[in-house]
Structure formats: C-alpha cells, structure tokens
C-alpha cells in the first residue's frame, strides 16, 4: 500500500472552506425552495455564525428572510444588545416570541427550578404557525449531543413541531428534500457538520463579533448543580447560595437560569480556541443544566419540538 505524505502546502484552514461552502449551499437551497424561511437567532455564537453565512450567501443582496428569537425573559442583557445591534446593522426583520407572555396569561407555568429552556417549545411552535414559516434555520450541530448525531440537515416536523426519528428522510449526495405538507415545516441545520472548534476557528478567521460574555470577565456568581450561575430576577441565589466574584466566561448563552459560566481566563478568541482544544468537557456538559437531566433528555425534547 502506498501512502502519500501529508501535503504541507495545503492552506491551513481549508476544512473551513468546505464547511462554509456546504452551509451556504444549504442556506441557498432553502431560500430557493421555501416560501417563508426564518432564521432562529438567539444572539449566541452559533446563530451569529449562521447569520454571517447567510449574509455571505446572498451578498450583495440582502438576506431574503427574517430572524426569530424565542425570548425566555431571562436573557443576558449583553446578548440582547448584540441581537438588536445586528438586526439594525443589516436591516433585518426580527420576530420575537416571549415566554413571559405565556406565563403571564397562564398558557405556561413557571417550573419550580425557574428553568425556562423547556418552556421555549410552545412559543416557538406557535410563532412558526402564526407566521406560517415553512423552513426554520437552527444552529444545532451534530457534535453537540448523542441524539443529534442522527439529525438530518433538513428535519421534517409535523403540525405540532414534533420530530419523529422514523419519519426522517435519508439524505444523499447534495440533494436535500424539503417537500412538506401544509402545516408541516422543516428545521434546517446548516452547521450540522461543524464542531465547536470549527465554529470558533471560523469566528477567528472571519473576525465575527460576539457578545462579550463569551470571553473571560469578572462576574458575581454562585454555585448550583456544579455550575456557576449569574444572579438575576429569575430566582438566584437562593438561601445558602453565596455570591462570589470570579473570572469566568460562557461557552453557550441560553436562559440565565440554566446556563453556567466556566472558570476561564480566555479573554480573546485565540485564547478561547486554545482553551477549547485542551478542554475535557463538552460544551453542553459544561454549561447546560437542562441536558444533565437524563441521557435521553435531548431525544425527548426533540420529539416535543425543541430545536
């Protein structure tokens, strides 16, 4: 067997070119084949990268679809600021579905632990139906969690936003099948094949601006469930939980009640990449309390329509 030697002249990041081209292809497919796509935008890094790809895919023309944010009411202010700045800068249309509205009128009930991530499903599905969105871009990556390893790039959802692993269509070559019946929609994941490291390398390469809480900063935090949580109206700290000042950063930016900070002195993107490369804990394991509930937690939530 002949083994060729490694090509030292190859560009350092050509895997990013491949992943970028694939994501752009997927985004353009959706714009061409669907009537009313929308991009789920939380102000988190994956949705920011997804939007960056969409801007590139249609340049110099504007992005031909809007953004949808499911606001848990417990967002980090820095993240909302990034969201609003981004929308204004690119002249985008933003739809917001508020979990708080549902709690206020009784359609949803606050959980005893104050965690609102599981409550996002109903407002999301309602927003998709009321705006008649037929394709919903999500920033989900297959490397995030075991149950996502088999998620399709085009993931068919029924009228209730539910995912049925047995009804998912095989995806071959570069041929994505987005056909759906009235009332159904398709969740589309252009970053399916990206890893956390790819996302960060791309952010570094493209000099993409993120909410500052992704980088190390001093913050008052308290410990709960093995994570550092930020105090806030959502219900922390409780009695017996003491605040302390630490140098931390966030690896994901979800609902404040269940998104933990990690001890870190990675103050810029290069330092973050070094940290992730050496990290021993997955992104979700480090910072999402709601995924720790059970091994099958994600599979259950996906069936319910979670993104």
């Amino acid at each position: 067997m002949s083994i060729l030697t490694h090509d030292e002249t190859a560009p350092a990041h050509d895997h990013l070119r491949t992943l970028e081209a694939e994501a752009v292809h997927i985004i353009r497919e959706v714009a061409a084949e669907f009537e009313r796509p929308v991009l789920l935008f939380s102000g988190g890094k994956d949705s920011i990268v997804m939007l960056h790809l969409a801007l590139k895919a249609f340049a110099p023309a504007p992005v031909p679809f809007g953004l949808l944010h499911v606001d848990t009411g417990h967002n980090f202010p820095e993240v909302l600021a990034t969201r609003d700045r981004t929308v204004a800068e690119h002249g985008l249309q933003l739809y917001v579905a508020h979990v708080q509205d549902y709690i206020d009128d009784g359609r949803l009930v606050e959980r005893p632990d104050g965690t609102r991530n599981p409550l996002q499903t109903v407002p999301l599905v309602d927003a998709i139906q009321s705006h008649r969105f037929d394709a919903v871009f999500g920033g989900g990556r297959r490397d995030e969690e075991k149950a996502r390893a088999k998620e399709r790039v085009f993931s068919l959802r029924d009228d209730f936003g539910q995912w049925d692993p047995k009804r998912q269509r095989p995806e071959l070559w570069r041929l994505y099948n987005g056909r759906h019946r009235p009332g159904e929609h398709v969740r589309v994941f252009p970053l399916s094949n990206w890893t956390e490291l790819d996302v960060w390398q791309y952010i570094a390469e493209q000099e993409i601006e993120l909410p500052e809480i992704y980088y190390a900063h001093e913050r008052q935090v308290f410990a709960r469930g093995g994570m550092w949580l930020s105090p806030g109206e959502w219900g922390g700290p409780r009695e017996g939980e003491t605040l302390q000042t630490r140098v931390v950063r966030y690896r994901t930016v979800g609902d404040m009640s269940c998104t933990g900070a990690v001890d870190s002195d990675a103050a810029d993107v290069a330092a973050v990449i070094t940290e992730i490369t050496a990290s021993r804990i997955t992104e979700r394991g480090a910072s999402r309390a709601d995924d720790k509930m059970s091994e099958a937690a994600m599979e259950d939530r996906k069936r319910e329509g979670y993104f």
Binding site: A21, R28, A61, R142, A149, K150, P170
Partner: protein, 449 residues
C-alpha cells in the same frame, strides 16, 4: 481517565483538509468499538461523555468501559441493541478533520449504507478476521463500488483472536483485493487491527510487527482526497442574486464538478444560450477560478434569461439533455416503487415530474458479479436472473434494481460512473413528499449490459 498529552496550542489545531468517510460492518464485527476507539484515542471523547460510558458499562457489569457505547445513539436502538440509522461523528487530528458516517451493517439496512456512502470519499469496511469475507462484507464492498466511493479500505478486525496471524490476514487481503478489483473499485487496501485492544488503530502494535503498512489513523490522515475528478465544469444554478441598487445579477450555486474560469465561453442549458464568464465571486472574494465543491456566484458577460435548475457548462464540453433515463437505483422507502408510478425526480437543483416506465431487473447486491454472469447465460429471459427476486414490477426497501424513467422535461443527467454529482438523483413521492429512491444514472457497476 481522559488524560490529554501536551495540550495542543491553537496553532496545532490547524488542519489541512477534511475527509468524509463511511464505516460499515456487521453487528458483530466490532465496528462500534472501532469507531469508539478512533474517537477515544484521538481525544475526541471528552471527560463527561466518557464518564457516562464508564457508568453505563459498570451498570451492565462490565469490567472495562465499552467504547461501543460512545456511538450508541437513539433510545430505540439502545433497546434493540443495534444501530438503525446513519450517525455522523466528528474527530480531528492536527493533520485533518474527519466526518464519519457510521452506517449500520444489519442486512436490511442497505439503504443506510447507500446514504452514508453517497458523500464518502473513503469507505472503511470491517471484517472479523476469524470469518473472512462474509456475505455482508461482499455487500458492503459492492455498495461502495456502486456508489463510486473512490477508495475502499478493509479493516481486518479481531486480529487478536487469530493470534495476529500474518497468513490469515494475507488470505483475507487477497480475497478482498480480487473482489474489489472485479467490482471496479479504483483504490483499495487492507489493514489488520484489533479495535478492542487498540492494536494498529491509532498506535502501532508489537503483535503486528510484521505489518509494514500504516495504522488506521495514519492511513486516514494521509489518504489523498480527489476533489476534482474531471476537468469539465458543471454549475447547476441554485439561486439568482439580484440587487437593483448595484445593478447586480449573479448566479449562485455550488460547482458540482470540474472547474470554471473567468473568460470561459459557456452555455446555459437546457436553453442553449451562450456567453462568457465575466467574474467569479467566492463568498465575497473575487476569484479567477472556481472548482468542485466551492460555493460561488458567477457573473456572465451578457444579459441572459437564467433561472434555478439551469446548468452552466463550458461551451465546448456541455452535457446533452435527456428525458429517457436508465439508472441503477436503491429503493429507500417502505412504500414500494412500481411500474407506472408518477414521481418527482430531483437532480442537482432541478426537480421534474417523471414516470416509472420499467423496472427491468433486481440486483443481488451481496453477489452482483455472479448475477451479472447469469444475465449472459439466460438470453431468453434476459433480466430475470435473480431467482429469489425475479424482475417484477416493483422494488421494495433496500432493493437495488435497474429502472427506466421518462421525465416531463429535460434534465442534464450524466453517467454516474463519470460524475457522482451530476449523475445522481432522488425520486420523491409527490403526495407525501417522502424520498423514495436514490438513483445513479447508467450502470455504475457495469453488471447490466
């Protein structure tokens, strides 16, 4: 337990290239263990994931962590104890990024391997050293050949159970080489490993000192990836970008194969309009040339009427539009495909109506060459050569067969053997929208004629 060696710096993580590979193997060949081993030994498994596996292993009374659990995904398959769908895994070394399509080996899941192989640049097929080339191995090799996966690697596993016997490996290697060659696999190779013990997966093994080739990971890191398999550029128009303020009209899409350059005389098909490429934009970067796999926007010198589904190709080597399609297909859906069915055919960025005119043969994918031989022997009933599955008028899930289709409008379909991108298509159920069938134009295995 997950001990990192020297923590790599950001610079070391720069990787040259990305390899898409598909793995296949029977339930007992140790494929999940091998994939788990690759993930674990390349430090792609992190502390919390590994701890979950250790915990589960302990609960099941195992002494060692069962690495197979790392790749064990959905609850329904945990209950059945088998993998039932294609799962994608990601790992990286300082040299390369890998996307691994982990496809199940169970006999009824040919369609999953077809799915995984469709995008693979390399297929890794697992075989038990004690058993040698089993029927499933032959099927997996044939599927790889049918899908024109450029390279096929046989990982001869469980070498520890045959005392690392060099002759046993040599025997299997020779059998495989003969079979792969007969199927027209362009590049093939074999490696001895023990996934359970980790021999020759990431680290070389003293017990396999007689083996002069690389470890599995060395092979994966260094195997060449051919991005451009033929020169003739093919650009299916995906989306027309118009921007009035800038008086801009660009044709966006992904180069399906070959390359296109600024100044190239081109033809737009099926209309036949001609122009030249005035400019190429690669996602904000002007370029002289765009090659296969790149997302590009082409600007033409003339104002033409071009829309999604058209194909831009060099004027001197353009494909011919067809409406009569002869193809080898793998049926994917539980709903059978019947002669007379009206379907949608999705080819590159164009979807057209089509009717199934003939289903002329079925192929026994575990022994396609023997079947092909019998075609020539029975001239009277040319296609009814598979005794178990006579050429009827329908294809069921996992069947591979030869079909004739007529499309309502022309498509720019080329032989799959020459081009995986412009030679492939899907058949879609117009009512449910489900994907029914994966099609490969012509006769990629060369067994039907």
């Amino acid at each position: 337990m997950t001990v990192l060696l020297d923590a790599p710096t950001a610079k070391d993580t720069h990787v040259a290239g990305l390899l898409r590979l598909a793995t296949a193997g029977s339930v007992d060949d140790g494929k999940s263990t091998l994939v788990g081993r690759l993930l674990y030994d390349t430090k792609s498994v992190l502390a919390d994931q590994y701890e979950a596996v250790e915990r589960t292993s302990r609960n099941r009374g195992l002494e060692q962590a069962d690495l197979a659990l790392l790749t064990d995904g959905l609850r329904s398959e945990r209950e059945q104890g088998i993998t039932i769908d294609v799962a994608y895994r990601y790992f990286a070394t300082p040299h390369r990024r890998f996307i691994l399509a982990d496809t199940p080996g169970h006999v009824q899941y040919t369609r999953n391997m077809v799915t995984g192989a469709s995008t693979a640049e390399l297929a890794v097929i697992l075989v038990d050293a004690r058993k040698g080339l089993a029927e499933q191995t032959r099927r997996h090799t044939a599927v790889s050949a049918l899908l024109r996966v450029p390279r096929v690697l046989l990982a001869v596993n469980k070498m520890d159970l045959v005392d690392f016997d060099k002759d046993r490996f040599g025997e299997i290697e020779a059998d495989f080489a003969a079979y792969a060659t007969a199927l027209g696999v362009e590049h093939h190779a074999a490696l001895p490993v023990s996934a359970l013990r980790g021999d020759n997966v990431v680290e070389p093994s003293a017990d396999l000192a007689w083996f002069e080739g690389p470890t599995l990971l060395e092979y994966l890191e260094n195997v060449p990836v051919e991005t451009e398999r033929r020169p003739a550029g093919r650009f299916p128009v995906q989306y027309v970008i118009r921007h009035q303020a800038a008086d801009y009209r660009g044709y966006a899409g992904t180069i399906a194969s070959g390359h296109l350059e600024v100044g190239d005389p081109i033809v737009v098909l099926p209309s036949g309009q001609r122009s030249t490429i005035a400019a190429i934009d690669l996602l904000g970067r002007p370029a002289e040339r765009a090659t296969a796999g790149q997302a590009a926007t082409l600007l033409l010198a003339d104002e033409l009427d071009v829309s999604r589904g058209d194909l831009i190709a060099p004027a001197d080597s353009a494909p011919t539009a067809v409406q009569d399609v002869v193809a080898t297909v793998c049926h994917l859906s539980e709903k059978p495909l019947n002669v007379g069915d009206r379907v949608l055919l999705k080819h590159t960025t164009r979807t057209v109506k089509a009717i199934v005119k003939e289903i002329s043969a079925k192929l026994d994918i575990s022994d396609p060459l023997a079947a092909a031989g019998s075609v020539k022997d029975t001239e009277a009933d040319e296609f009814a050569w598979d005794d178990d599955a006579p050429a009827g008028h329908s294809l069921n899930a996992n069947d591979i067969g030869r079909v004739v289709l007529r499309t309502a409008s022309p498509i720019l379909l080329e032989p799959y053997a020459a081009d995986r991108e412009t030679g492939s298509f899907l058949l879609i159920d117009p009512a449910s929208g489900d994907t029914l069938t994966a099609g490969m134009s012509g006769d990629p295995l060369g067994v039907f004629s």
